[in-house]
């Protein structure tokens, strides 16, 4: 060891000289190479779009055009007044700004923004769906949301979208002999009517229902997040552009340092969407502490038993494409009270926060993480962090740099649909 010390001492003038030489080319704002690697991993341009083998129509422009019309159609609900856009408002980054979603009735959780959702293996706050198309079906039959039933949805397509539907999918089944309303997930009367239908009739209707989800997913895939001020900053830093230092304010840069350093925010809020797309219990207080939301723990069985999952008969995937489902963690105690890490893209534009809108502002979120209260159900992963008020304000300022424009790709410019078989 003594020898090594000698070597280092002898080499130190060289190291200093090397530091001076390299110092001339140092990155603006004194970011280290390791920091820059982290910053680059957050750049929206590093995002690799996931394809969904369970939806062979996801790149079809005709499916996207049909999905867009259904998305904005309030007839797709029990009271003819609720469309997907009622909660996923395109003027508000495809969410509603409410603590709890408001459809036919008040929902149980915060409306999630649609942008970037295709990036995740699991959909919804608890991941009870494993694809965007399957996710889109959930609210349609939820009594609090659209409150509809799948025979009524098939009738809607038959009456108003038959031509567009048949151009993309297979021919519409004959619905004349079917009850007006029926669903395995509806009211007792609708469930009874569903049970009286033949297996072939049920499958034909569920196939139309699944295809509605696939068209909605194709539309959602045309919605993209553009680069934010943060992304421009990271690119300028990586290129050692002298102007880089001007792109963010001193407070925003201090916030960024805390975000990837002391705050440890980046461990969960990593990657180009600033989410690990996984589930964590961070001790967010439930709305009703006598009936706390169990989160992911209660959703695992639901997704495994879902007829619209990757392995189900309405999926276009091969078994090998369904590894997430096949290797699902079904006995992880950490999933009790755990919810999905939300993307921080546009987070500053969409208060309130957390899975049931429990926290009104981003400052409240910072205070929550600083104090790290015990969880009402399960155990929180978080430990308290000592943040000053100024540090919390810097973190909030940084999150504002992640506001990304929402871009809709032109349907005509969409890639040609993959070979589409009738099924």
């Amino acid at each position: 060891m003594k020898n090594l010390k000698h070597v280092l001492v002898a080499a130190s003038p060289l190291l200093v000289a090397a530091g001076l030489v390299f110092g001339a080319a140092a990155a603006p704002d004194d970011w280290s190479d390791a920091d820059i690697a982290v910053l680059k991993s957050l750049n929206i341009k590093t995002r690799q779009e996931r394809s969904d083998p369970s939806n062979k129509y996801e790149d079809s422009a005709a499916a996207a055009a049909l999905g867009k019309r259904i998305f904005f159609d309030p007839r797709a609900s029990a009271n003819q007044q609720v469309s997907c856009a009622s909660c996923h408002d395109p003027r508000q980054q495809f969410q509603d700004g409410r603590p709890l979603g408001q459809g036919i009735a008040t929902g149980l959780r915060r409306t999630m923004p649609i942008l970037g959702s295709a990036n995740a293996a699991w959909q919804f706050w608890d991941g009870r769906k494993d694809s965007v198309w399957s996710q889109a079906l959930g609210p349609l039959e939820d009594a609090r949301e659209h409150g509809g039933n799948r025979v009524a949805y098939a009738r809607l397509i038959d009456a108003h979208y038959r031509q567009e539907y048949e151009a993309v999918f297979n021919s519409m089944p004959d619905l004349k002999t079917l009850p007006e309303q029926a669903s395995p997930a509806g009211t007792p009367a609708q469930r009874a009517a569903w049970a009286k239908m033949s297996e072939g009739e049920r499958q034909a209707v569920s196939r139309v229902f699944a295809n509605i989800g696939k068209a909605l997913a194709a539309y959602e895939k045309t919605l993209k997040l553009g680069p934010s001020r943060f992304d421009h900053y990271v690119e300028a830093i990586a290129e050692h552009a002298p102007a880089a230092a001007q792109l963010l304010s001193p407070s925003e840069k201090r916030g960024l340092r805390l975000f990837i350093g002391k705050g440890e925010c980046v461990t969960c809020h990593g990657g180009p969407l600033l989410s690990d797309e996984h589930f964590h219990n961070t001790g967010v207080p439930p709305r009703d502490r006598f009936a706390p939301d169990l989160g992911r723990a209660a959703a695992v069985k639901a997704v495994l038993n879902d007829e619209f999952n990757c392995l189900g008969k309405f999926s276009d995937a091969q078994r090998r494409d369904c590894a997430e489902l096949e290797f699902i963690a079904d006995n992880d105690p950490h999933m009790l009270g755990a919810f999905k890490t939300p993307s921080l893209r546009n987070a500053a534009l969409r208060p309130p926060y957390m899975h049931a809108g429990q926290l009104a502002t981003l400052m409240d979120v910072m205070r929550h993480y600083a104090t790290a209260p015990a969880a009402a159900v399960g155990r929180t992963e978080r430990k308290p962090v000592s943040f000053s008020a100024a540090e919390m304000a810097d973190l909030v300022a940084f999150i504002g740099t992640l506001n990304s424009p929402v871009e809709e790709t032109d349907a005509r410019a969409a890639p040609p649909s993959r070979s589409v078989r009738s099924n």
Binding site: L4, S32, A37, T267, G270, A323
Partner: protein, 151 residues
């Protein structure tokens, strides 16, 4: 000179990890071949991909030999693990899907949801044998090792 190699590996590890929000302990044992709990077997764990990815399911290989170096087949292996510094487990439930022969086993369904220190725990059962071994794997920020590859 014999001190220089561990020193350099430690330095390399630091370079790789300084991007992580919470660096692993400096003395973390990251050996990829380790003896089982009571020393009966020697286990090697390696990824079957060139770069361990974040948030993508991929496969690893487990190789088991006796302390004397003979491959051990027919072992029942179960997997557990997570991030000790964050108090959570793996986002998937990896499992051995195939016995590849010559003491090698395929571990499928491995996914790391973030960079940093992960524990990968293997339990072995065969007849009366009950043994275990824990590996420490440090998942680096994508691109953070590029500098090391440069001349």
């Amino acid at each position: 000179m014999r001190y220089l190699v561990p020193f350099l590996s430690f330095f390399t590890a630091l370079t790789l990890l300084s991007g992580c929000a919470m660096p692993p302990p400096a003395d973390l044992d990251v050996r990829t071949t380790r003896p089982t709990s009571d020393g009966q077997y020697l286990v090697t764990l390696r990824p079957l991909v060139p770069v361990v990815p974040v948030n993508q399911i991929h496969s690893w290989e487990i190789a088991i030999t006796t302390a004397g170096g003979a491959p051990v087949d027919g072992m029942h292996i179960s997997f557990d693990g997570g991030m000790p510094q964050h108090g959570h487990g793996f986002p998937t439930q990896p499992r051995v899907t195939e016995e590849m022969g010559n003491g090698r086993y395929r571990l499928d369904g491995v996914k790391f949801s973030m960079t940093g220190w992960w524990e990968m725990k293997l339990r072995f059962e065969s007849g009366q044998t009950r043994e275990q071994v824990t590996f420490n794997t440090v998942v680096a920020t994508p691109g953070a090792d590029r500098k090391l590859a440069a001349p």
